[in-house]
Amino acid sequence: MDANKNDGRIKTAIDNSLSYMHLSEARIQIILSEAKGEKPMKRKLSLVLVLVIVIMLVSVAALAAVLLWEDKAKEIKDIEMAQGYYAEWQSGDKINLVRILVEMGLIEKSGDVDELLDGKLSDKDAHSVADTLLVNLTGSRIENVSLVEITETLWGSVYTWTEEQAAWWQQNIYLREFDSIPLDREIYLVPDETAIPRQQAIDTAKQALLDAFELPGDYFDTANVTTAFFTTHEDTSIHYWEVILRIDGTPDYPNEISYCTLVDSKTGEITQNKTLGIPTPAERVAMRDYVPSSSYDAFETALEEMQDKYEPLPVDRLYKQFEYWTLEDKAEFSKNIVPLINEAVEQGDAEEIGYYWLAPASFVYGVPSADAITQDDAKEIADKAILDKFGISADILGLYQNVRVYYDITSPDTPLWKFLYGTLGVDSYDALPKNQQPILYKVEINAYTSDIVACYEMIRGTQFQSLDTYKTMY
């Protein structure tokens, strides 16, 4: 590769592709205003302003406004879902939004506003006036104005929302758009009487961090604290206080340093959640000090050599992933790489290796012998098995274009063809009926007898919860 030429090409490509992207003058003015200590014009609310809003919330008028917003936000979400972000709305919907915001006192009445609300403006002028009002309100570019942006002008940044606001949003707005909360995401709750107080959770998290990291006692005294309260799909009986402590950086590390800690809201004890990727402070220290074994290094080197055989496939974007290796390479994985994985696991590297490699390492892969039915024949049987068992149409099954295939010889006398059916890219996923989208299919066929050994459906994401469930992907 001609380094100089390609250096230039990358810069030129990014410049050309993102040339439309400039920081808006409105945003620049916000930054300069904040920097000069003036009251921010819009958008980013200072801590003082957030506190003012919280205090306001106790007043009857403000409470009414919040309730009004909660009511109207659902209507706005419906329009967003039907028409897209604000910029794409029809003028009538934009006028209705302005009317709501005027009622709530977020937009001041003026001559232009009156004309807009009275329907005295042409369609073009109505768009123009409404757009200007929303840009001024949110401080965003018009194409980015959305329900979230508008709500942030009322509630402050999403990072500062209260537990009640988070739970309300998820239940009323998020679930309005999506059928369910993803399995690896938090289910936000309002703390109930069984929960320890927020401050107790913060104090517990601070102390655990001080102990684990051996920090001076006053280390978090000036920390910026945010919290969330949630449960997860894994076990809804466990409720978590999530405490995020952020402290100023140092000259060498000028950013804030974030510490995210979970506290069991019922026992008041420090805990962790692997699905969310949040360890305890002690585990975090262990991770910081962890040094992989030489076996792990050998595993990584062997893996890189194998992956380097694969050119990226820009069309279907199946870049170097194990699932798309050839049957021969999967067999080589079982023969040469799995022993290295096993050695590394014995030396304490299981966590570093992760389920993604531990799961396929629990099977032995091979290539079909002459006695086995062919992959094409097996796939035909698998297709038919799904159609017969689940009663979906061939057209629907045809959208499952991402079929991962394995030849499993863990039991040499009963080798299995295994097929995992998924979609390829967002287009085929979007084309599926909504009730079909969460579903994957798995079929296993005896390669000697053509018998269907297993045929079942799986819900996307459920596989990642444990090693045993992860194995169903392979």
Binding site: I14, N16, Y20, R141, I244, P251, D252, P254
Partner: protein, 170 residues
Amino acid sequence: MLSGMDKDEQVEIWVRRYSDGLLRVCYVYLRDVGLAEDAVQDTFMKAYRKIDEQERYGGAYEKTWLMRIAINTCKDYLRWSWFRYVDRRKEIERLEAAADASPEDSLITLEIMRLPFKLKEVIMLYYYQEMTLREIASALGVSISAVAKRLNKAKDALKHMLSDEGGVVE
């Protein structure tokens, strides 16, 4: 104060000089213009608060320093659970591109955005921000050899689409 300027003047110069570059880097991380603007805004506010430290850090390296703040701000955005909760990132395939960008330009940019996080950031800093290995190492808080290793990996990952003739390999 820096070079006899007051802090406000210094921030204004930074905003005018670096905001677009920072915005594009943040966009590649966050895949959302609004979030990228937030990140740039936060970057300048953090920079403002630490302007005196920057002078001690070495005023000549202000771009590296700002980039370091911006990158870590983006990483914080990605890490915070709130971000997971109100996730406004777009699918890579649905990102906007400038109307006058060629398909090849768009493809290269998209391929860069698809790279793993650690590779994407060195590509952006080395090729796009034209920072030296030493500057990148300083911005990311890693060794120069680690940067060089990541850069080589990133080049390997990209070479499939950048042929010696400068065309796109299909």
